[in-house]
Amino acid sequence: MTRVVVDVVMKPEILDPQGQAILGALGRLGIEGVNSVRQGKHFELDVDDNLDDETLTRLADTLLANPVIEDFTIRR
């Protein structure tokens, strides 16, 4: 069994209200030195060793991410 991680983030040109809200809260927490925050999704999959890259990509592309507004990266 292999652990695969897929991270999904909004495309850079798309509005990311999440990140803005977090940045605003940092000030109230008294934390300085953080200049930007983007929030995305993080998936941890346990897959059979022989699951091929193509299938993984299809999985990410159709189910985990919405390619219209999001990009994803896959790490084995």
Binding site: P17, A21, I22, G24, A25, R28, Q39
Partner: protein, 228 residues
């Protein structure tokens, strides 16, 4: 003189006006409070309303917890001030660690709005003394992140100490552990509730046939405060 009960408006609060109305109908003086103000205007009790706070993109209530108003409310609650958190307010209370556990995305992953049957499991808290122990009521439920979760120890402790205030009957609408709809702190002055009693205070607009089932949440607190 009427008892003053405050309702905090966070950026994104939705049911703040409803909570103010419920307090007025119950016979108290509703006092709007602003999240950015530490000063709580001499209120005797506080309601944290439903809706959203600061967008809730991170986790419901996660950012509201750090607001100036919450700093004072956390202090007040620790000294015994009655605080009721409804829906997002419940989430804020958990994030602020005034109540144990957390609220997560509904197990069916959809927002749900329905008239929900509940059983009042503890009629001894400051906010539920107007009910009979075991009384069944119907009030609106509407949430996307209403699943109450906590570890086994916490759940057992809550149950053994009688701190489960209300439980879902019939269908569990959001996957809450042990059908928990509301809990209290050990002292009973802080209560968090996922369904919305403030939407069941008038026959005209509350659930059909149960229009005012939620009103005792707001009258209980008055009886206690006047009684003191």
């Amino acid at each position: 003189m009427a008892i003053r009960v405050g309702v905090v408006t966070f950026p994104g609060s939705l049911d703040d006006r409803d909570a103010l109305r419920a307090i007025r109908i119950a016979g108290a003086e509703p006092v709007p409070l602003w999240h950015g103000e530490k000063w709580l205007s001499d209120v005797a009790a506080v309601v944290l309303p439903g809706g959203f706070s600061y967008g809730d993109y991170l986790r419901a209530g996660a950012i509201a917890r750090f607001s100036p108003a919450m700093e004072s409310i956390i202090d007040g609650a620790r000294q015994g001030m009655p605080v009721l958190g409804i829906c997002n307010g419940f989430q804020v209370l958990c994030e602020a660690h005034l109540l144990p556990g957390a609220l997560i995305r509904n197990d069916h992953r959809k927002f749900v709005c329905r008239d929900q049957r509940l059983r009042i499991e503890n009629a001894d808290t400051l906010w539920t003394s107007g009910y009979q122990q075991g009384q069944e009521i119907v009030i609106p439920l509407k949430n996307g992140e209403g699943g109450y979760v906590a570890d086994e120890n916490t759940l057992n402790e809550l149950e053994s100490e009688g701190r489960v205030v209300a439980r879902y009957l019939q269908d569990n609408p959001n996957g809450s552990y042990r059908d928990i709809a509301g809990i209290s702190n050990a002292e009973g002055n802080v209560v968090g509730l996922m369904p919305h009693p403030e939407h069941a205070v008038e026959d005209l607009t509350g659930p059909a046939g149960h229009g005012t089932d939620g009103l005792p949440f707001f009258t209980s607190i008055l009886q206690k405060l006047v009684g003191i």
